[in-house]
């Protein structure tokens, strides 16, 4: 009975004394939910990760291969008489392609409360005092993020916490002499906290962040003997928004929907080849007063290899007399709570790049044109693929786009260099050269390799896209591109033209003015001998024969015949042009316009009907007589000319087909 009575008295004394407990805060930082380490919007400079997965575990922004970070800080007690300093955080991160790994050791992320009864208890000669010590600490953390592209990343972080409660209790030994001693009862709680987060770059100027808070909590052992003093681990969501208002000004906002928010504004300017970012964060915390309870001015300098920032965390309310709060509410956040003091933090990040840091990356590549092997120059003059690349550096860089399509290239093809401004996106065009040594007998899909190079010997980024490679006889349907077929098998056309003109030299040379006209006549008459008209062998896509094929097969459709005869005339030095007659039903017809070399005053030499020719002005400003010729009409030169002239006059001249785009003239040169 006596024992119980004494014990009850002592407990009452202990509890009453609680209000007078001496608080000793050996403070530091842990379990941040908002970035209390001087963070600024990552949109301003994406060079470093800024030690943080607190506000956004999915944040995938680091550019470096390896990165080392450290925070050293000083903590100012409320009286100003006590300044403690420590290494708060050391971290190491590694990026591997789209994967990002992060480890941090937080030796000073801890907070201790020592609760002591104000009086000694003395019984007989024994004297003792009671105290309770509560330690909170975050030991280390691990993070992983995966980038799904330049705009979206997802990740998680897991951190290890320890809570420990040491309670002194009295021990009585009642005998001849009553002895009062104390012993310490220790209870611990060790747990893992895991959260997920995502990061979405909505535009060049807006980034959205979303992360969980206390999503998964895994207890390793039991609880504290007094659960009231355990960390309050409310589940919640943290929403973040960064907005780049201009090239120099950005805002950030992080909202812990359960209890707090952080709002910051930062200004950037460039100096000494780096970036200086200065600004201020303010925070609201429901557990603290006043409404805006912290202001955090920050100044930072960052270059490609390191960043340094200095932040001051200033609590606007006195840090005294919060013991009742602790008794009633405990704490939710080890770093920023009603017992935390002002701090000065020096944060440093170093890029430990063991390999070249990527300077440019692909955002996308689109194959805009299928490959038609015969249309060689088209792919020199026009890109077959267009991509967008982002300059990841702070300097203007020259980007060399390179492509390789195994089915058509013998080697990598360099396209024109593109200059891209710092942190900007540029359009890169991929041109290609089509090898004559490849086999183009069958259509196939090939994997095109796209590479971006800068000054480094190795490529900066690489991607692949499928490309359709057509056969050598496939045509993209553009009449202007028929000219590429004209150039094929030129030797065969040359032989034909030479032989024919030699055989009919007397007819050709009969009039000095009409050499070209007469050449056209005899070449056409020879060309159409035994010629037949037949449609494309395949209907699913355009098919054009090479001139040699047309002449050997003795026939073809209007494309084939026009190409073949144009080839013969061009090799004979006679200018030709394709005339493309478009119809509303989508079926085109192609025939030829041929330059007779005669001027308008000489028309009577070949015709007395001025509807049968068309005047075109040459580069010297002189009109020349061009005559239409239908290559699918095999009766005679005159009838082919008449037929074509009638069609040309009706559709091109009378119906304004040339002006309306219904009739197109494409010169072969």
């Amino acid at each position: 009975m006596l024992y119980q009575k004494v014990f009850t008295i002592l407990n009452l004394i202990f509890l009453k004394s609680f209000a007078l407990l001496l608080l000793v805060c050996s403070v530091s930082y842990s379990q941040e939910n908002l970035d209390f380490m001087g963070g600024y919007p990552s949109l301003m400079t994406d060079g470093f990760r800024k030690n943080s997965f607190e506000s956004n575990p999915g944040n995938f922004v680091a550019k470096s291969d390896w990165e080392f970070s450290a925070i050293y800080g000083a903590d100012f007690s409320s009286s100003g008489s006590n300044i403690s300093n420590d290494i708060f955080l050391i971290s190491l991160s590694k990026k591997m392609d789209r994967h990002y790994f992060y480890f941090r050791y937080t030796p000073a992320f801890k907070k201790s409360f020592i609760i002591s009864a104000g009086n000694n208890i003395t019984i007989d000669s024994s004297s003792a005092s009671l105290k309770t010590t509560i330690n909170y600490s975050e030991k280390f953390g691990l993070g992983y993020s995966y980038s799904f592209g330049s705009n979206f990343s997802l990740g998680f972080s897991t951190r290890y916490f320890e809570e420990e409660m040491k309670e002194d209790v009295f021990n009585f030994f009642i005998g001849d002499t009553s002895i009062l001693t104390t012993s310490t009862s220790v209870s611990q709680k060790k747990f893992w906290r895991t959260d997920f987060g995502m990061n979405y770059l909505l535009s060049e100027r807006i980034r959205l962040n979303l992360s969980s808070k206390n999503l998964f909590l895994l207890n390793e052992n039991g609880n504290l003997s007094n659960k009231h003093f355990e960390l309050k681990l409310k589940k919640g969501i943290i929403f973040g928004l960064e907005s780049k208002l201009s090239e120099n000004l950005a805002l950030n906002f992080n909202w812990d929907v359960a209890s707090s928010f952080l709002l910051g504004s930062f200004y950037l300017f460039e100096i000494f080849g780096g970036k200086v970012i200065g600004g201020i964060n303010i925070t609201h915390d429901q557990t603290q007063n006043p409404f805006i309870n912290v202001i955090m001015p920050t100044v930072s300098f960052s270059s490609n290899l390191y960043s340094v920032s200095l932040s001051y965390i200033n609590y606007l309310q006195s840090r005294n007399n919060r013991l009742s709060d602790f008794a009633e509410k405990g704490i939710q956040n080890i770093v920023s709570n009603q017992f935390a003091d002002d701090k000065l933090l020096l944060s440093m990040n170093f890029a430990l790049s063991f390999k070249h840091e990527k300077a440019v990356e692909f955002l996308d590549v689109e194959v805009t044109n299928d490959i038609f092997p015969t249309l060689t120059e088209e792919f020199v003059n026009h890109p077959f693929a267009i991509g967008h690349a982002k300059n990841l550096t702070d300097k203007t860089i020259s980007v060399k786009p390179i492509s390789f399509i195994p089915g058509i290239n013998n080697e990598h093809i360099y396209s024109p260099t593109v200059e891209i401004a710092p942190n900007s996106i540029g359009e890169v065009k991929f041109f290609t050269l089509i090898s004559d040594e490849k086999n183009y007998e069958k259509r196939k899909i090939d994997n095109a390799e796209f590479l971006l190079f800068t000054t480094e010997p190795d490529y900066e980024d690489k991607t692949e896209k499928p490309v359709l490679i057509n056969t050598k006889n496939n045509w993209d349907g553009k009449v202007s591109n028929l000219r590429y077929f004209v150039y094929r098998s030129f030797d065969y056309s040359l032989d034909f033209a030479t032989r024919t003109m030699k055989n009919y030299s007397s007819a050709i040379d009969s009039n000095v003015y009409l050499k070209k006209f007469n050449s056209v006549k005899v070449l056409f008459s020879e060309f159409v001998k035994n010629m037949n008209y037949f449609s494309d062998p395949r209907t699913s896509f355009e098919y054009v024969q090479f001139p040699k094929e047309t002449m050997e097969r003795k026939g073809g459709d209007c494309d084939d015949l026009s190409v073949a005869f144009a080839s013969i005339l061009e090799i004979a030095g006679i200018e030709t042009a394709f005339v493309d007659f478009k119809s509303d039903d989508g079926i085109s017809h192609v025939n030829l316009l041929i330059n007779t070399g005669l001027n308008s005053s000489q028309a009577e030499l070949i015709t007395q009907n001025d509807k049968k020719y068309f005047l075109r002005e040459n580069q010297n400003g002189e009109d020349e007589i061009w005559i239409p010729l239908e290559t699918t009409h095999f009766v005679s030169f005159e009838s082919s000319w008449n037929l074509a002239a009638e069609k040309f006059y009706r559709e091109a001249i009378e119906n304004f087909g040339l002006q309306k785009g219904k009739v197109l003239i494409t010169d072969i040169y």
Partner: protein, 224 residues
């Protein structure tokens, strides 16, 4: 004395269509479609839009379509049946843009034209028919204008000036049709025409006429 032109037009709008020959006086020929030869025209013949009517000295022809629209082509003239229609101003503007399309976008490295150009004296004889036909076409174009087919007339004349270069050297004819362009309110086109004509203006009087014309159009543009 040349036969005076007399034109009967009931309708302002005539579309290119078949015409029936009502009366023929003297030597009147037609060049059918894309044929080389011409043939004499007789009363009752049917003429199609691709046909070209040609009259000799002291000849004329009276045509009528199925709607009763008539046209008389006087002597020493030529006109394509397709021009016997009222064109819209928009169609004329569209047709005039053909000038630009006719310029060959030639590769400068291309072998130059190897045609041999003869002297004027050498050309004169073989191209006599062509020169005469050109002038007849200009005469016909003037009659189109006088008959109210101003747009068709301008188009026919421009085509003739180009295809029959000798006709393009006649200052009076060129000015006549350029004035028609101006009178249609096509200010920029008319200035362009006057500038082209200035290349063939030989006398001070001709140059002054052109200068006044251009100044007048410019003043109009400024005032508007």
């Amino acid at each position: 004395m040349k036969i005076l032109m007399f034109v009967l037009f009931v309708s302002q709008i005539l579309f290119a269509q078949d015409f029936i020959v009502q009366k023929v006086s003297g030597n009147v020929f037609v060049q059918k479609g894309f044929e080389e030869k011409t043939q004499k025209v007789n009363t009752g013949d049917k003429l199609k839009s691709n046909d070209l009517i040609i009259t000799d000295e002291s000849a004329f022809i009276h045509l009528k379509d199925k709607n009763g629209n008539s046209f008389v082509l006087k002597s020493n003239s030529a006109v394509g049946v397709n021009y016997l229609r009222k064109m819209s101003l928009n169609d004329l503007i569209l047709a005039l843009t053909q000038e630009e399309i006719r310029t060959v976008p030639r590769n400068s490295n291309k072998t130059p034209n190897t045609a041999v150009y003869g002297t004027e004296a050498r050309m004169k004889k073989p191209f006599d028919f062509q020169n005469k036909l050109g002038q007849k076409k200009i005469n016909g174009a003037k009659q189109l204008a006088e008959s109210g087919f101003v747009e068709s007339a301008i188009l026919a004349a421009k085509e003739t000036f180009r295809k029959y270069p000798a006709t393009g050297k006649n200052f009076g004819d060129r000015l006549y049709f350029a004035d028609l362009v101006k009178n249609l309110g096509l200010d920029e086109e008319s200035i362009s025409e006057y500038n082209k004509i200035s290349k063939i203006a030989e006398t001070d009087a001709q140059k002054e006429i052109l200068s006044n014309r251009i100044e007048g159009v410019n003043l109009k543009i400024i005032r508007n």
